[in-house]
């Protein structure tokens, strides 16, 4: 494992000072379920200075705000999200999703912030290949075994998929993220937080968080009435694995008419893939299982699978059919 020094700041401001001092050599350490493995894998972009934010008191909470929304500190454990009665009551689809993240043991350690900002799980990167995210200039996933963890929707330089589930499930709720930065608080939508295909401070990464910024809070707006939502995930193994394809779908209803829709696929692209073509198709339609065939026809028409992963698109469309059927049955 790469040798590291650990700082234990007690405030966000102190943590930002330390991160600013060490530049890209430092990184935020919370649950460690991603970071420590990156260190163990001796990845070139893994930090040498860890800034442990666990001692910071005000980053681990789930609380209702005055408007009826919910604020979540990003050091909150995934298991705490899964067990939260408040979240179960207000955002059941999000809880459904976090229960499918990894294993119970890892959910006890990993945090919401870590899930949102985790590194990709490409086997070539983790195997120490000199790829775009590890000091090289070539994507081995694009030409090697890309059955599981690589994009079927095209890519730019790195073809690994964004692996997180929480972001996929937060987007349908129009959740927002807050970043503490040296110049104050920055607020972004989750789509803006993990847009994929970018280089930040010399590193190719899926998210926009800079070396001296800390993701501190996720804000869920008050749940809308008459929304039905569902999350489903297909994995190479039944448990403990990243999605080959996942779907978060939320339909807002007026009577039986769909007045608004959110359709977000995970595991198929370098970012949570919001499928606005399906959303637009669904709006104004009467919710019924029969919609699934037409929805599948308009979904993912821009797919660009690699040699071994066209099945991801079939899986994603299957999840769409399943989601629509499930939500219409709940009527």
């Amino acid at each position: 494992m790469k040798k590291v020094s650990i700082y234990r700041p007690t405030s966000v401001e102190e943590a930002i000072e330390i991160l600013s001092e060490h530049g890209t050599e430092a990184g935020v350490y919370a649950g460690g379920t991603d970071l420590l493995i990156r260190l163990k894998n001796r990845l070139k972009q893994a930090p040498s200075y860890l800034v442990d934010i666990k001692p910071i008191q005000n980053l681990r909470y789930i609380k209702e705000d005055e408007q009826g929304g919910v604020r979540i500190g990003t050091a909150t454990k995934i298991s705490e999200l899964a067990e939260s009665d408040l979240l179960k009551k207000k955002y059941p689809m999000f809880v459904q999703a976090v229960n499918l993240i990894s294993s119970p043991e890892l959910r006890n350690a990993s945090t919401l912030g870590g899930d949102l900002l985790q590194e990709v799980w490409c086997q070539y990167l983790r195997g120490g290949y000199s790829c775009w995210r590890n000091g090289g200039y070539l994507c081995y996933g694009a030409i090697g075994d890309n059955s599981y963890y690589h994009s079927a929707m095209g890519g730019r330089l790195c073809y690994a998929v964004y692996p997180g589930d929480a972001a996929t499930a937060l987007i349908p709720y129009d959740a927002r993220a807050k970043l503490a930065t040296p110049s104050g608080v920055k607020e972004l939508s989750i789509e803006q937080l993990v847009p994929g295909d970018l280089m930040v401070d010399g590193r190719i990464q899926s998210h926009v968080v800079r070396y001296n910024e800390i993701l501190t809070e996720v804000v869920l707006p008050p749940p809308k009435p008459n929304v039905r939502a569902s999350f489903e995930k297909l994995r190479p193994r039944g448990v403990w694995d990243f999605s080959m394809a996942s779907l978060a779908i939320a339909l807002e209803l007026q009577g039986q008419t769909i007045s608004d829709a959110r359709v977000v696929f995970g595991g198929i692209s370098g970012k949570p893939y919001r499928e606005t073509a399906v959303e637009n198709f669904l709006k104004g339609k009467t919710l019924a299982a029969e919609l699934k065939d037409q929805a599948m026809a308009v979904a993912l028409v821009n797919a660009a699978p690699l040699k071994y992963n066209a099945t991801k698109i079939d899986m994603a469309k299957g999840l769409l059919a399943s989601g629509i059927t499930k939500l219409s049955a709940a009527a």
Partner: protein
């Protein structure tokens, strides 16, 4: 990787899919080789270059005319990749100097550019005629002609031979990963980098430029250039 100032393109295989037939015909008629029907245009072309090199002779007189006529036929049948024109336009806009560096005849290389409307993107064309040689010779002529340092130049390669030529000259060998199986084999030969599509080349240059500048910030790929968030 050092800051890239120039990019060398071999049209065969890197800008267009060429038919193998004409190159196989030249190999067969001038060097007595059996035609391999399964070869790609690119492999047939580089195989022909190996034969020319091994024979130690320059194509002159009737042989030159015969080869050139078949090369023109290959050019006429070549299918330019759909990402070529937009990628070249973006590279040019970014200030990269682009060159055709090819072992085709001068007439064939220029006909290729004319036929496909690509002339405007290239600063110069180096062929086996004006470079007076094949394989490494056009690259060396291109470097000398444009006063470029080899480590600041990319050469796109899609065969083992073209990779080897790039490495022998010292330019950055960038693997065109058109066929994943072939690319996987070629990736074992230590190319400097690789791209799946020419669309990625501008982003490749942005990454290298950002690394060399040492400046921190955000570069969003393929959205018209660096964007600060």
């Amino acid at each position: 990787m050092q800051l890239i100032e120039g990019i060398f393109f071999e049209p065969v295989g890197c800008l267009a899919e060429f038919p193998p037939g004409p190159f196989l015909e030249i190999s067969s008629r001038l060097f007595g080789r059996k035609k391999k029907t399964s070869a790609s245009g690119s492999r047939a072309y580089w195989h022909l270059l190996n034969l020319i090199e091994a024979s130690g002779k320059n194509l002159d007189g009737p042989e030159k005319e015969f080869a050139e006529a078949l090369e023109m036929q290959a050019v006429a049948e070549a299918k330019v990749y759909e990402d070529v024109a937009p990628a070249l336009a973006e590279l040019k806009k970014m200030g990269a100097r682009l060159f055709v560096v090819s072992s085709l005849s001068d007439a064939a290389a220029k006909s290729f550019l004319d036929r496909h409307g690509l002339n405007e993107f290239f600063s110069a064309v180096w062929s086996r005629d004006n470079a007076r040689g094949i394989k490494a010779a056009p690259l060396q002529a291109g470097l000398a002609g444009a006063f470029l340092q080899p480590e600041r130049v990319m050469f796109l390669a899609d065969t083992l031979e073209s990779l080897s030529v790039a490495q022998s000259v010292g330019v950055q060998s960038i693997l065109m990963m058109n066929d994943p199986d072939e690319a996987r084999r070629l990736a074992m030969h230590n190319p400097s980098g690789g791209i799946v599509s020419l669309h990625e080349l501008p982003d490749f240059l942005r990454v290298v430029a950002a690394e060399n500048s040492g400046q921190l910030g955000t570069v969003r790929f393929s959205s018209g250039g660096p964007t600060e968030i």
